[in-house]
């Protein structure tokens, strides 16, 4: 029973890393721009956040540094892709490769560093409830912020005018331009938001989730976040669900491996990817649904006034 509660807690924690990045990328892609640089942004944010905490001792300064690193790299990507119309996929891949190399270079002298003692995060009262307390209420505040972010994004996209404008830009930048909306600026803001959320997620990884710096420590989570937004057909709650599902199966297979179950470990390592893709593909297989939720202009260049 106790271990099951811990499994839920670990799932929650692991899912949060993916959820925050994927929700940011969702907004990013709703504007019609896909940024394959997520992995690189998360890596740079992870080292930026880690280094900031090492020097200041304050986690929140670390999160801010991670977000700034992510948003800064996204801004560079945005200028290249939105104004200079470089290919989105190629530029994103370059950003990922750059981020991996650059973070490793900067991170060399932080490899042996340790962060100040991690405090425990228990919500007074709630955390003492048997089972539910350890499962849900001993998380870092960002875990709850992740859920709030999904709800805020739903409200923003479907209840506000700004969200409507963002969806319109993603569907047809030409039409939005002809109505007089500043398509490029809107897209840049969306891309920077995506970068900032990837940055927050990367910083969470190196400050809270595994409080240390190792080269390449994001280990594909950026790519999973990108895949989640697509497989979840750009719907925030599905993204959240997919993130926890992936986190849950990952934790489960660690658990099974440690129990010495008689399944080759390679198969267990595959399980989270397979399970997430199969489940999300099944719940989102309606083509009408995909067409209505997919930002139609995603990946295509936009030339205003032509």
């Amino acid at each position: 029973m106790e271990s099951f509660a811990l499994l839920i807690a670990a799932t929650f924690n692991a899912g949060t890393v993916l959820a925050i990045a994927a929700l940011g990328l969702l907004i990013n892609e709703k504007s019609g721009i896909v940024n394959l640089g997520a992995e690189g942004m998360m890596l740079c944010a992870a080292i930026a956040g880690f280094a900031a905490v090492v020097h200041t001792g304050n986690d929140w300064v670390g999160f801010a540094a991670g977000m700034a690193a992510g948003a800064g790299m996204a801004a560079l990507f945005g200028v290249l892709v939105i104004w200079l119309n470089t290919n989105q996929y190629a530029t994103g891949l370059a950003l990922s490769l750059f981020g991996a190399g650059f973070s490793a270079f900067v991170g060399v002298k932080y490899v042996q560093e340790k962060l100040p003692a991690r405090p425990s995060y228990a919500i007074p009262g709630l955390a003492d409830i048997p089972f539910i307390g350890p499962a849900l209420f001993k998380q870092h505040p960002l875990a709850y912020i992740g859920i709030a972010l999904a709800l805020a994004i739903i409200w923003f996209l479907f209840k506000t005018r700004a969200g409507l404008v963002l969806r319109s830009v993603g569907e047809s930048p030409e039409s939005a331009h002809s109505l007089g909306y500043p398509v490029r600026r809107i897209r840049l803001l969306a891309v920077m938001f995506g970068g900032a959320m990837c940055g927050l997620s990367g910083a969470y990884l190196s400050i809270i989730y595994t409080p240390l710096w190792v080269e390449g420590m994001v280990s594909g989570k950026g790519w999973i976040a990108l895949a989640l937004t697509t497989f979840a057909t750009w719907r925030p709650l599905r993204v959240l669900f997919g993130a926890y599902l992936f986190g849950g199966v990952t934790m489960m297979q660690f658990h099974l491996q440690s129990q010495g179950v008689d399944i080759p470990s390679q198969f267990l390592s595959m399980a989270p990817y397979l399970a997430t893709i199969v489940v999300l593909a099944l719940i989102s297989r309606n083509p009408a649904w995909i067409r209505i939720n997919m930002p139609a202009s995603v990946g295509k260049p936009f030339y205003p006034g032509s």
Binding site: R161, L164, V165, R167, S168, E171, S172, E174, S175, A176, S178, L179, G180, Y181, P287, A288, R291, I292, N293, A296, G305
Partner: protein
């Protein structure tokens, strides 16, 4: 024209706009009084669109100015134009498919309004002008006519002083055109000036009280269209009267192309399901298919050309052979050729030369013997040169890139490529869409010639005039169903218009 009255709503003075390869507007003047419906007449490429974009602030003129209510207006972008009371309804709609009608309208309006506000105003405005609009429906579920009404309501909600309509009737049934005219007259009576851009002479003569004619970027006349004839307007527009076509008697032979019980469920959520389509085309006749776009033409043509092989077995036959499941190459080998509606991208590869483009449908003639099957550059070039010469295509020779040709010339080239293959059955979609009057007449003439030589032709078009001109019989496609055929001699625009709304059972029973 008399001197400018002091109360002119809109005045365009000596506007010139040059593009690298063409002068789009040269010293253009335009004067519109309040409450006037003013036509801007001209062919494709005459400079109408550029002029409207200048008025609407989307394009800056090199020389000249635009005056609104006698004051010089410094309109830098469409938003400022809207703020000053200039609204535009585009030919290609600028609506967002995945959001509702009300949300679409909201996007075009001021920030300070709430969605509920916009919804209520939309309903009110639509009622005043008799425009049937449902605010909560998502736009992808609307027909083209309904979408246009949404655009018009959106324009009207800005309380425009000048409303610009760009080729508004090209997508409407004749009945919908009537309704639109009623709305526009009511608007004009309320004091709004309407700029009506069109190349349809009858409509302009019926609706407009003033007309500015453009040709090659220059104004060739300011006239009152009510006092003009189609011939005199045509002379101003193209410098000549439209050529007349020779129609010879029909001598039909065997059934070339036939569909029996052709039904295909749409696999695309925004697509149209084809429902029990039956028709036949005999050699030596031209059969037309009328209808507003988006009623299943795409799916219908894909099934006939072989781009889609989802048609049920036995539903499509070519000279008696079942071809329902055959790919386009097999069908072409059987004598069936196809000219698609989109010239660049489907009819031709934009970045390849005209010579290389012969490979798309004439590969067997320009490719050597297997197993190597080298493409012969000589054969492709000479085939392309033949087509260019025979069909009077204006192009820089066989090596010119397809995208370097004007729309009309490329269409001549593609139609020519298929005609010179001596097809037994030819399917043509929108043969003269975006083509100038001279080239259109030439293409139609070629189609008739092919018919007289014993080819079976199926022409799908949105232009009723065109179908009446070339076809021997006509069908109408509406909501994925095909009407029975009617001889062109017995058809009227009114009747075809009714059928376009899917109402043939009613009028057929009578």
């Amino acid at each position: 024209m008399s001197e400018a009255a002091p109360t002119l709503r809109l005045e365009v003075k000596n506007v010139t706009k040059r593009y690298p390869s063409v002068v789009a507007n040269s010293d253009v003047n335009l004067r519109v009084a309040p409450g006037e419906i003013h036509a801007v007449l001209g062919e494709n490429g005459a400079g109408k669109s550029t002029l409207m974009k200048i008025i609407y602030g989307a394009v800056k003129p090199d020389i000249g100015e635009v005056l609104l209510d006698g004051k010089q207006s410094k309109i830098r972008n469409p938003q400022e134009a809207r703020a000053l009371g200039i609204s535009m309804v585009f030919q290609h709609f600028s609506l967002f498919e995945t959001v509702t009608v009300a949300e679409n309208i909201w996007l075009g309006l001021d920030k300070s309004l709430t969605l509920a506000n916009v919804r209520e105003q939309t309903v009110r405005k639509a009622k005043i002008y008799g425009l049937d609009v449902e605010p909560d429906r998502p736009v992808h579920s609307l027909s083209v006519g309904e979408r246009q009404r949404v655009e018009i309501v959106r324009a009207l909600l800005t309380d425009p002083k000048v409303l610009i309509l760009d080729e508004p009737t090209s997508v409407l049934t004749p009945q919908a055109v009537r309704k639109l005219f009623v709305t526009l007259r009511q608007l004009a009576a309320d004091g709004c000036s309407v700029l009506y851009i069109s190349h349809k002479l009858d409509e302009i003569r019926e609706l407009c009280t003033n007309c500015t004619v453009l040709r090659g970027g220059k104004v060739t006349g300011h006239v009152d269209p009510r006092n003009e004839s189609n011939a005199s307007l045509s002379r101003l527009m193209i410098g000549a009267e439209p050529p007349k076509l020779q129609h010879r008697e029909v001598k039909t032979g065997a059934i070339g192309l036939q569909a029996k019980g052709l039904s295909i469920v749409a696999d695309d959520p925004f697509g149209v399901t084809l429902d029990n389509i039956n028709f036949e085309v005999r050699t030596g006749e031209i059969v037309g298919v009328a209808g507003v776009s988006g009623n299943g033409q795409q799916e219908f043509l894909a099934a006939l050309s072989g781009e889609s092989t989802r048609a049920p077995s036995g539903s499509i036959s070519l000279f008696g052979n079942d071809i329902s499941k055959r790919n386009p190459r097999v069908r072409r080998a059987g004598g069936l050729h196809f000219v698609p509606e989109e010239r660049l991208g489907r009819g031709a590869v934009p970045t390849l030369s005209l010579a290389a483009n012969t490979l798309l449908s004439r590969a067997s003639e320009v490719v050597g013997k297997p197993p190597l099957s080298w493409v012969s550059p000589k054969a492709t070039a000479s085939l392309a040169a033949d087509i260019i010469k025979r069909f009077h295509v204006k192009a820089g020779g066989p090596s010119a890139e397809a995208k370097s040709l004007s729309g009309g010339n490329l269409q001549k080239y593609i139609v020519g490529r298929e005609i010179s293959a001596n097809p037994k059955v030819l399917i043509v979609s929108q043969p003269t869409w975006g083509v100038d009057v001279g080239a259109a007449a030439q293409i139609r003439g070629e189609l008739l010639k092919l018919r007289d030589e014993g080819c079976a032709l199926l022409v799908v078009s949105e232009e009723l005039d065109e179908l009446f001109e070339v076809c021997d019989r006509m069908h109408v496609i509406a909501k994925g169903r095909l009407s029975p055929s009617i001889n062109t001699a017995d058809a009227t625009v009114e009747k075809i218009g009714e059928w376009m709304s899917g109402l043939w059972e009613v009028s057929h029973a009578l």
